[in-house]
Amino acid sequence: MSESVTLPPSSEYAVEHLKREIAFMEDVAWGLAGCGDEYALLQAPMFMTQIEFAQKTLQHVEEGIPFTQLWYPGVPEFCTAMDLHWDGFTRVTLSGPLAYLVPEYLLKMLEESDMTGLPGDVCTLRRFETAAMLAGKFPRPTSAVACLHPCDGVSVFQSACEQMFPDTPMFWADSPYDSNERGITYYAGELRRQVEFLEKHHNKKLDWDRLREVIAVTDTQYELWKEFDLLKRNTPCPMGSWSGYPIHHMLQNCAVTNAAPVTTEYLKSLIAYAEKQVAEGKGRLENEKHRCLFMDIAPTWVGSITKILEEECNAVVVVDGMGDSRPYTPIDLTSEQTILEGLAKRYCMDTPMIRVSHGTLDAMLDDLRANVVDYNLDVVIAPGHIGHKDVQAAQGILRDTCREMGVKLLEFNYDLFDPRYTPEEEMRKILTQFFDAI
């Protein structure tokens, strides 16, 4: 008698959607290639790999080849080493870059999410995911591997997933609260079960030596990320706002290019660009007045907020909540156990957002203190995303920490996926008044 939904019977809509998505991304890549802007061209590899990835998913769905669906922070290294194709729940939900680039498309997603019946104070990404699932946007995977983090909202998505794909085997890992040895051992156990799960449902055996090779490549990529971040410490900052954010996407989030040479080349090109800027004493902003830490993910309307910050406030977001290479530690490849523990640390205690949201506030406050000093920041922007209730519960502590450090703090409420929540004019007022005041 409850008003239950009808499950999508096939992946027909998902296929149609994927095709449209690919066509759009090809247009973007084409436009990017011809734009002639050196800085914009740096991002071209990300689009190209997303296109290739979506094409591969399409091929798997159309030809009935088994694949898995990962929810960030799944461990793509396992899949790469097993030669198992995966797609990301988040990538499918946001249709790659569509939600970021096409306001009309984002609006349609918001309208669909409003129809799910989920309350408006639940993280909009979770509502997007649920709406996408109800609409049949997700190709039905052979299996799904996910983690019950970084927030309570994941349980919304998890419940929907379990019920909407009742015949799809799923592995939901529990991540520990503590970031110590106990926590690492615990999560390593979850990852071992994850490997067993993938082996069982895909009839493939993980070759641990192949996994070592994959991890070795990613370790090199993390080192390059650190090298890039060191360059961003220069004043003026050689890069524009959010420059670390795409790196996170390339390496981790959908990890569409996990261990792929294109990611290494992408990182090298960023370093080369930043080195050139530093050598010429150039910043991305001509008149850099403020260097900011934005303690959250780039919103879907990142374009307008960046414009306000950079052009009207002369402020650059040097470090953001996703684009920070700080915590990554190379993985000890000695044994299966050291590998699992290294990956446990990488995906539970180092990965952005998960790192600061799964345990106590120590990681968040330590990163804040270190970033302010290392990157010579004078402003901390702590937007209270509607879904980040953990950070909301720490506003007093955050304020007192910034006060102790003598750094200016701007706190406001927003929805990082829904520009209607804090319209552009309101955002302009908040930001310009704040920067005028300091």
């Binding site: 008698m1 409850s2 008003e3 239950s4 939904v5 799910t116 019946g117 989920l118 309350p119 104070d121 639940v122 993280c123 979770r126 649920t130 109800l134 019950l148 927030c151 309570d152 909202g153 349980s155 919304v156 998505f157 998890q158 419940s159 929907a160 379990e162 019920q163 909407m164 939901w172 529990d174 991540s175 520990p176 609260y177 503590d178 106990r182 615990y186 156990g189 979850e190 079960r193 949201s357 106590t360 506030l361 209270g384 509607i386 879904g387 980040h388 209730k389 953990d390 950070v391 909301q392 519960a393 720490a394 506003q395 007093g396 502590i397 007192d400 706190e411 409420n413």
Partner: protein, 382 residues
């Protein structure tokens, strides 16, 4: 209900349910007894009892304000957390020797860090509650948490928590659960002799006074109620599902429309009494298994089918006609659960989805919606 003589025991329990600290608790405190406050059913009261202290569940019905808490917590945090933390900051929990906070939701877990930072005079402990319970590793992890809690409590209160004391505490709390289940059994009757609001009053009373005082009082009330014939004519038998509710007045509004709330799936309700702790074997093993596996689980713990199965069983056992899903604003855990029950699960009864704050003022709106819901249920019978 009119036939029920308001016994002295009932009066005492009703009074206890209204205050943050009952008269009995304050008497215990005045005699030098220790008191430990806690949030959430995953915190094992038995260990606190075995430490010689009284465990009370933190509530804030006497504090309609959040002005102080709002300086520390943003407006996306749930109102239950803010009202209780507000009380703490204002010194209204000064009768506590300590507080235990689980990691059961995003607002609560960082609220604990506020407690550590801004109320350092009190002992505080955080218990990690896994988000899954279907592997031995999850159970082992939770047991390890309880070992740490036991050790911390021993050092904080300067006591030894022996297995013998744990066994005694388990027996005491099982007695409480057995009495509360008798209360719930009465609600299975065709004409229950007790309303949902009064049941909640009696359950809440048990969270704010020593169990040694509570159990005899509750026994008296239960025995009295067992002799009472319920009044026929309820328009529908309803189930309450949702974020923690400790306010009987809320159920009064629902029942004021002619329905009767006969059961629930919430943590100030059936969760805590849904399963006994085994009195055999290692007591920490038994408590671990009870909390993480045997008792009804809240949406913090997956997989979700164990929760929906629980709801379906209750619908059957209590012959439920309709479900009122009432989520506290900003509560992500229950948003997911209510979505599941409303949109995904094929339940045999209709579901009404409503929202509330910890202090609910919108009783008119609730009345109207419940009224319409009852008409829907009645219409379906015709």
């Amino acid at each position: 209900m009119d036939e029920l003589r308001l016994s002295k025991a009932l009066e005492t329990l009703t009074e206890a349910s209204e205050a943050a600290a009952s008269r009995e608790l304050l008497a215990w405190r005045a005699a030098g007894g220790k008191v430990v406050g806690y949030y959430c059913t995953y915190v094992p009261e038995e260990i606190i009892t075995a430490a010689g202290a009284v465990a009370i569940r933190l509530r804030a019905r006497t504090n309609p304000e959040t002005d102080t808490a709002s300086a520390y917590m943003g407006n996306m945090c749930c109102s239950y957390v803010k009202h209780t933390f507000d009380m703490a900051m204002k010194g209204k929990y000064d009768f506590l020797d300590g507080v235990v906070v689980p990691t059961c939701c995003d607002s609560i877990r960082h609220m604990h860090e506020n407690w550590v930072q801004y109320i350092p005079s009190q002992f505080s402990h955080q218990i990690e509650v896994p988000r899954r319970n279907d592997q031995d590793a999850h159970v082992a992890m939770f047991r390890d948490q309880l070992v740490r809690f036991r050790e911390h409590l021993e050092s904080a209160l300067g006591v030894e928590i022996t297995d013998e004391r744990l066994h005694d505490a388990i027996k005491l709390h099982n007695e409480t659960r057995a009495l509360q289940r008798r209360l719930y059994e009465l609600r299975k009757r065709e004409n229950p002799p007790i309303s949902g609001a009064l049941t909640l009053t009696l359950i809440v009373a048990g969270t704010s006074m020593p169990k040694t005082d509570y159990n005899p009082l509750l026994r008296t009330v239960v025995e009295e109620l067992e002799q009472v014939q319920g009044v026929p004519g309820a328009r529908a038998r309803l189930m309450f599902v949702g974020s923690c509710l400790d306010d009987p007045a809320y159920l009064d509004v629902i029942e004021g429309q002619g329905g009767i709330v006969v059961c629930d799936s919430q943590c100030f309700g059936s969760f805590q009494l849904s399963a006994d702790v085994s009195e055999e074997g290692d007591p920490l093993d038994a408590i671990t298994k009870n909390r993480l596996v045997d008792q009804a689980q809240c949406p913090h713990v997956s997989p979700s089918n164990q929760r929906t199965d629980y709801v379906k069983k209750i619908i059957e056992d209590f012959k439920v006609d309709g479900i009122v899903c009432s989520r506290m604003a900003m509560c992500d855990n229950w948003a997911g659960e209510n979505f599941l029950l409303n949109r995904v699960e094929k339940l045999p009864v209709p579901v009404l989805n409503v929202e509330r704050e910890y202090f609910s003022a919108a009783s008119g709106q609730l009345s109207t919606r419940v009224q319409a819901f009852l008409e829907t249920i009645e219409g379906a019978r015709v």
